[in-house]
């Protein structure tokens, strides 16, 4: 399966379409962002260019805690087209991680429907349709880097030769060739997180779920990994759902930014963000970038995220 995929570049000079009322949840207009003709056509019979990677409608999730009910998600609806890079941003407790976990079938919604790749979240999980990257690398310390990469492949029953091939390919993709025989503790935090990204990609899922993957890293490493992740996304054509705390990170990476607010967890604003696919960190100084960042901030404030 070729990694390189042709993607139509969408250039929007204005950078974003600003909507006046940032408070009401918006229904997104789905654009045919990814015209995947190669990889996924083989997996899925559906050939519609508007195919949805994730379709969330009216999903709510209530936790029963000792202090009573907590609305982690309240009537959330969201459509994500194939090939998009969607960031979820919001303060702690806004349900962005819960959102990702619901999509991954690590948690079940109390109500609402959820489709991943056109199937239920559970089917998608059983069918290994997504790769998940956690806040921490969560590598298995007793396995070498290569064996860590092979772990999902072993579980999924890939042949030995295929495992070796893929381990080498995806280590190269995250620039870690030569570290096969090292153990996790011998790598820096940033390198470990790159291994965990390679591990999530190793079985070639169409969807990549990332829960604050760079949250624990310092800013220099983080900037570097942001650029690398962007290149990776461009090369592989995956749909990426990315949870973050950082406004610059969200604006820099995404084609779409979902702003969320807590108590109850809900979507405040969905912002389109159409920078050229090949971008460098320098775009963070451009007016377009700052305008979107400003709108994210407005959205967060509207959701009372800055309240004490």
């Amino acid at each position: 399966m070729p990694l390189q995929m042709s993607k139509s570049l969408k250039l929007d000079s204005s950078g974003a379409t600003l909507q006046p009322d940032g408070e009401t949840p918006l229904v997104t207009v789905i654009e045919p962002a990814g015209m995947n003709k190669t990889a996924d056509a083989k997996l899925e019979p559906v050939a519609s260019p508007q195919r949805l990677a994730v379709d969330v409608s009216h999903v709510s999730l209530t936790f029963e805690t000792a202090d009573g009910k907590v609305d982690a998600l309240s009537d959330v609806s969201l459509q994500i087209a194939d090939g998009e890079f969607v960031s979820f941003i919001g303060p702690s407790g806004c349900g962005k991680t819960t959102m990702l976990r619901v999509i991954a079938d690590l948690q079940q919604p109390t109500s609402g429907t959820l489709l991943v790749n056109g199937m239920s979240a559970e089917q998608a999980r059983l069918g290994r349709r997504y790769g998940y990257v956690f806040q921490a690398p969560a590598l298995f310390p007793w396995r070498t880097i290569e064996k860590n990469l092979k772990l999902p492949l072993e579980i999924m029953g890939f042949s030995d030769s295929e495992q070796r091939l893929r381990a080498a390919r995806y280590l190269a993709l995250v620039n870690l060739t030569g570290f096969e025989r090292k153990f996790p503790w011998q790598l820096s935090g940033g390198m470990q997180q790159r291994v965990s990204i390679a591990r999530a990609l190793s079985f070639d899922p169409a969807l990549l779920l990332m829960d604050e993957p760079f949250g624990a890293l310092d800013e220099i490493v983080r900037d570097h990994l942001n650029e690398q992740l962007l290149q990776l996304w461009d090369k592989t054509g995956k749909t990426v759902l990315f949870v973050t705390h950082s406004i610059p990170e969200a604006v820099f990476l995404s084609t779409k930014i979902v702003v969320m607010s807590p108590r109850p967890g809900r979507i405040i604003d969905i912002i389109d963000c159409n920078f050229p696919r090949e971008r460098t960190l320098e775009i963070r100084e451009t007016p377009e970038f700052l305008k979107i960042a400003q709108r994210v901030r407005v959205g967060l404030r509207a959701g009372h995220s800055y309240d004490e």
Binding site: F134, A138, F140, P141, W185
Partner: protein, 306 residues
């Protein structure tokens, strides 16, 4: 001035010698213990020896009295050199299969210990697996497991021997079963902890890959439990030795360190008791050392940070 300038570097190099740095503390403790032991031997055997002199109505000096406390045939507390002499004699003085050889008795106890340790380890791991995989089993098994350790083994051992003897089990196996009964416990407790040690994130990862329960066990829970396994094994191996010795006491066994201890106490052979104790201590340290060695090997295999 000159002499201090000359001796100082030598003193320092001696102090920094790695062997000395490593063994000096423990050697100090051992020497202190031996000194205390000698003093205690003199004090405890004093009355005995004085009584002997007085009965024979021979005059004695203080130095004769003290010398007597360290060479009595059946002292209350034998002096260290007496124990060592008896130990060396019974280890090297007889062929290893002679009934007076400590090597022979140690071998008998060691075989029961090893078999008991093996049975106990398997039982311990099996119980931990059951407890981890079923809430019902946890609730029904755990209280019994804890109860089993609250009954004194000295009370249970004769019952075990009689019951097992009635169904035709004799010799090595009953002793091993008692030893296993004692030593499974730390392994079960350790392995329950170990099997539940994986990080929630690692468990979530396995779920995202839709791994089977068996795969979660073999690829995540089992490797996570290895450090806990060795911690349990180290405790268990000494307990299983104690179990094997205790099992030899109430049965009137003719061979084994427990039999040596029992015979020694029947005939007031304190020196024999102490040399049997010394043998069991050496055996226990050897067993712990072996488990430690295995642990180091496995840790290296698993890439544990040195």
């Amino acid at each position: 001035m000159t002499s201090s300038a000359l001796t100082l570097p030598i003193g320092r190099s001696l102090r920094q010698h790695p062997l000395l740095a490593r063994y000096a503390p423990i050697a100090t403790v051992v020497l202190a213990l031996i000194a205390i032991w000698y003093v205690a031997a003199v004090l405890m055997n004093l009355a005995l020896v004085r009584g002997g002199f007085e009965r024979e109505e021979t005059p004695y000096t203080v130095s004769e009295l003290i010398a007597g406390t360290m060479s009595a045939e059946r002292p209350l507390l034998p002096a260290p050199h007496q124990v060592i002499a008896a130990f060396v004699d019974s280890v090297f003085g007889y062929p290893p299969n002679a009934p007076r050889s400590l090597v022979y008795h140690s071998g008998v106890t060691l075989s029961a210990t090893l078999l008991g340790f093996l049975l106990g380890a398997m039982l311990g791991i099996a119980l931990a697996l059951m407890i981890v995989h079923s809430r019902v089993l946890e609730k029904s098994l755990l209280p019994w497991i804890i109860c089993s350790q609250m009954v004194p083994i000295l009370a249970l051992a004769p019952i075990f021997i009689v019951v097992l003897g009635a169904i035709g089990l004799q010799g090595l196996l009953p002793k091993s079963i008692i030893s296993a009964y004692l030593c499974f416990f730390p392994i079960t407790i350790g392995m329950v902890k170990g099997f539940t040690a994986p990080d929630p994130m690692q468990l979530d990862l396995m779920r995202t890959w839709s791994a089977t329960p068996r795969q979660v066990l073999s690829k995540l829970r089992w490797p996570s439990a290895v450090p806990y396994l060795f911690a349990g094994l180290k405790v268990a191996v000494t307990i299983s030795l104690i179990g094997a010795i205790v099992a030899e006491l109430p049965t009137g066994a003719e061979a084994g360190l427990g039999a040596r201890l029992l015979a020694g106490s029947y005939y007031g052979q304190t020196i024999q008791i102490w040399s049997a104790l010394l043998a069991s201590a050496i055996l226990a340290s050897g067993l712990i050392g072996l488990v430690g060695l295995a642990e180091r090997g496995v840790a290296r295999q698993m890439g544990t940070r040195p």
